[in-house]
C-alpha cells in the first residue's frame, strides 16, 4: 500500500513544484538567458533597467557575452520609478539604466549614484500604439486627424502612471497638445476621459494592447519596433517629447570593472547598432561621452575613492 502510494505522492509534489516553479522561471528568464553562455564562476553583474529596455538589453547582454566577456548579467526590469525606489531602499545593483532623468536624479539624491557617472546612452520618442485601433493609416497628413480620434468618446486608452517615465512623458505630450491650436484643451479633456487605466510600466500598457483590452496606448517608438501584432501612429515632432535614457554605475558596485565594460559596450559600434535596431535613437548622446568611454570616468572615480 505504502509503496504504491509513495510514487503518487512524489508525482504530486513534482507536479506542484512544476506548477509553482514555471511562473517563477518565466519571471526570471532574463538572468537565465544572461547566464547561458557564461560559466558559474564568472562575476554576476546586476543591472536595474527600465522596462522599455527589456528586449534590447537582453539582446545586448547576449552580444556582450558573445564578444568574450566572462560576465553573468542579471537584469531587474521594471518601471524606472520602482527601480529608483528599490535603490533608495538599499537594493544591490551594479548598473542603473533609467527611462528618464527624474528617476536617475532620485537615485543620485538617494546617494546610490554619483552625478559624474551619469551618461545619456539612448533616447526614445512617443508613439500611439494600437491593435484593431483607431486609424487605418499613419501617413503624415492623416496624423492629426487620427490623433484627434483619440479624444473621441468610446475609445479605451491606457497610459503610464504618473510616477512612471512613460506616464510623465505622456502628460507632457498632452500639455503640449492642449496648447496647440490643432488640438487644444478639449483634445486633452477628451483624451483623459478615455483613459481606463494607468499602468506601472510601458510593458503592462503593451500587454493590455496585445490582449485587445484597450484600443490605444501611448508607448515608446522602440516598443513597437519589430512588433507585428500592434501598429503605431506617429506623434508630430513638435508635440512629442525626447525621452533621454541615462545610465550609471552604482556607487557601491562590487564589480565596477565588469559593469563599466557593459556600459562601454552599449557605446561601442556593436552595442549602438543593437540599440538602434530596436528602435532607439543614439543621436542624443553628448558628443564627448560617445568618445570618452564611461569606463574611464568609472576608473577615475575609483581613484577618488581610494
Amino acid at each position: 500500500m505504502q509503496n504504491r502510494a509513495l510514487p503518487r505522492v512524489h508525482t504530486l509534489i513534482a507536479a506542484v513544484a512544476i506548477l509553482l516553479g514555471s511562473p517563477l522561471l518565466g519571471a526570471c528568464s532574463a538572468p537565465a538567458s544572461g547566464g547561458e553562455s557564461s560559466s558559474a564562476e564568472s562575476p554576476v553583474v546586476t543591472v536595474f533597467a527600465a522596462a522599455s529596455l527589456t528586449d534590447v538589453f537582453r539582446e545586448a547582454s547576449r552580444l556582450f557575452s558573445d564578444s568574450g566577456h566572462r560576465v553573468n548579467i542579471v537584469f531587474n526590469f521594471a518601471g524606472s520609478q520602482h527601480l529608483a525606489g528599490q535603490l533608495r531602499e538599499g537594493a544591490y545593483a551594479d548598473v542603473f539604466a533609467s527611462a528618464d532623468e527624474t528617476q536617475m536624479q532620485a537615485a543620485i539624491d538617494a546617494g546610490r549614484v554619483e552625478k559624474t557617472n551619469v551618461t545619456t546612452f539612448v533616447c526614445n520618442r512617443l508613439v500611439v500604439g494600437y491593435g484593431r485601433g483607431p486609424a487605418e493609416n499613419s501617413s503624415v497628413a492623416a496624423e492629426v486627424i487620427s490623433l484627434l480620434k483619440l479624444a473621441e468618446p468610446g475609445l479605451k486608452i491606457v497610459v503610464g502612471a504618473e510616477a512612471a517615465p512613460i506616464g510623465r512623458y505622456t502628460r507632457q505630450f498632452l500639455s503640449k497638445a492642449a496648447r496647440d491650436s490643432r488640438f487644444g484643451p478639449e483634445f486633452r479633456a477628451g483624451f483623459e476621459a478615455n483613459i481606463v487605466s494607468e499602468e506601472q510600466s510601458v510593458r503592462s500598457i503593451l500587454s493590455k494592447l496585445q490582449l485587445g483590452e484597450a484600443d490605444a496606448g501611448i508607448v515608446y517608438a522602440s516598443d513597437l519596433a519589430g512588433e507585428t501584432e500592434l501598429q503605431s501612429m506617429e506623434i508630430p515632432f513638435d508635440l512629442n517629447v525626447s525621452a533621454f535614457y541615462p545610465i550609471a554605475l552604482i556607487r557601491d558596485s562590487a564589480h565596477r570593472e565588469q559593469a563599466g565594460a557593459f556600459i562601454s559596450f552599449l557605446f561601442s559600434e556593436e552595442g549602438t547598432a543593437a540599440l538602434e535596431a530596436q528602435g532607439f535613437s543614439t543621436e542624443c548622446r553628448a558628443g564627448e561621452s560617445a568618445n570618452v568611454s564611461p569606463v574611464s570616468s568609472v576608473e577615475s572615480s575609483d581613484h577618488a575613492n581610494d
Binding site: 511562473p23 520609478q81 520602482h82 529608483a84 525606489g85 532620485a106 479605451k156 491606457v158 502612471a161 504618473e162 510616477a163 483613459i195 481606463v196 487605466s197 494607468e198 499602468e199 506601472q200 493590455k208 490582449l211 485587445g212 483590452e213 484597450a214
Partner: protein, 284 residues
C-alpha cells in the same frame, strides 16, 4: 487554503482548551529552550510590521489619508470589498449547502475546485479572469458585442475580489454547515417548520460562528487583493485603484501616503483576525 487551515487550527486549539482546560494547564510551562527557539520566528514575523509603523509618522497619518488619492482608494476598497462579500453570501451559501447536504458524483472534484483560487497566485487569477471576461475572452467577447465590457471597471475589481476571496467563506460554510446535522433539520421539519424556517432557525444559528468567521476572512482577502485586480481591472484612481494598488503605485510617488495606507490595512487585518478568533472561540 492556508487561512482555512489556520482557522481549523484555531478551532482545534479552542476546542481543546475548552474541553480540557486542566490538562492544558499542566503543559503550560514550556522549557526555556523551547521559548528561545521560538523567538526567531516571532521576531521575523513582527519586525517588518513594527518597522512599517516605525517609518510612518503616526501624527500625520490622518493628513496623508485625507489626500484625494488615499481617500478615493479607501472608499473604493470599502464598497467593492463589501459588494464582493455580499455576493459571496448570496452565491456561496447555496454552493456550501449543496456540498454538505447532497452526495453526488464529482463532489470531490468540486471540493478541490473551490480551494483552487486560494492557492493560485493572484496574478494567475487576474489573467484567467481576463481570458474569461476580457474583451476577447471566452464570455467577454459575447458580452462585448452586447455592449457590456467588464475589464477596467469597478465591476472588474469586484469580480477579481469575488474570485480570490469567496472560497474562504465557502470553505468555512461547508465546515460550519456540516456541523448542524441533517437529523436536527429533519426533526425541526417534523415539528412543522417549513424549509425556510429550518434554514433560518436551525441551520444558520448552528453554523453562525463559522459563517461569520469565513465571511470576515473573505472580506479581508477581498480588501487586500492586488494581483488579480491590477491585471483584470487595471489601475485608475476612483474606479479601479484600490488601497493595495494605491500603495504599490504610491511607493515611489508619495511614500508617506503608501505607508499610511499600509498601516491602515495592517490595522484592519489585525482587527479582522482578532474578530475571527473571537467568533471561532465562541463555538467551542
Amino acid at each position: 487554503m492556508r487561512t482555512t487551515e489556520a482557522a481549523e487550527a484555531m478551532r482545534l486549539t479552542v476546542d481543546r482548551t475548552d474541553g480540557d482546560q486542566r490538562a492544558s494547564r499542566r503543559f503550560s510551562r514550556p522549557g526555556i529552550a523551547l521559548v528561545w527557539s521560538a523567538v526567531p520566528m516571532v521576531l521575523f514575523l513582527t519586525l517588518p510590521l513594527l518597522a512599517l509603523i516605525w517609518r510612518t509618522e503616526l501624527t500625520e497619518i490622518s493628513a496623508h489619508l485625507a489626500q484625494p488619492v488615499a481617500r478615493r482608494a479607501i472608499v473604493l476598497s470599502l464598497w467593492t470589498s463589501a459588494t464582493a462579500t455580499a455576493l459571496t453570501i448570496a452565491l456561496g451559501t447555496p454552493l456550501a449547502l449543496l456540498m454538505t447536504r447532497r452526495q453526488f458524483r464529482g463532489r470531490r472534484a468540486l471540493d478541490t475546485l473551490i480551494d483552487l483560487p486560494t492557492v493560485l497566485p493572484p496574478a494567475v487569477a487576474g489573467l484567467a479572469l481576463l481570458m474569461a471576461f476580457g474583451r476577447r475572452g471566452l464570455v467577454g467577447q459575447s458580452l462585448s458585442v452586447a455592449g457590456i465590457e467588464i475589464a477596467f471597471t469597478s465591476l472588474a475589481v469586484i469580480f477579481a475580489q469575488l474570485f480570490v476571496a469567496s472560497p474562504y467563506y465557502i470553505r468555512a460554510a461547508i465546515g460550519g454547515l456540516s456541523r448542524s446535522s441533517a437529523a436536527l433539520e429533519e426533526a425541526a421539519a417534523l415539528d412543522g417548520a417549513d424549509s425556510r424556517q429550518v434554514f433560518r432557525y436551525v441551520t444558520v444559528p448552528l453554523a453562525r460562528a463559522s459563517l461569520l468567521g469565513g465571511l470576515v476572512m473573505t472580506w479581508a482577502r477581498a480588501l487586500g487583493d492586488f494581483g488579480a485586480t491590477i491585471l483584470f481591472a487595471g489601475n485608475y484612481p476612483g474606479r479601479t485603484q484600490t488601497m493595495p494598488l494605491a500603495i504599490y503605485i504610491g511607493f515611489e510617488l508619495d511614500l508617506d501616503v503608501a505607508l499610511a495606507l499600509s498601516v491602515v490595512l495592517m490595522g484592519t487585518a489585525f482587527a479582522i483576525l482578532l474578530l475571527v478568533k473571537w467568533l471561532l472561540g465562541r463555538t467551542g
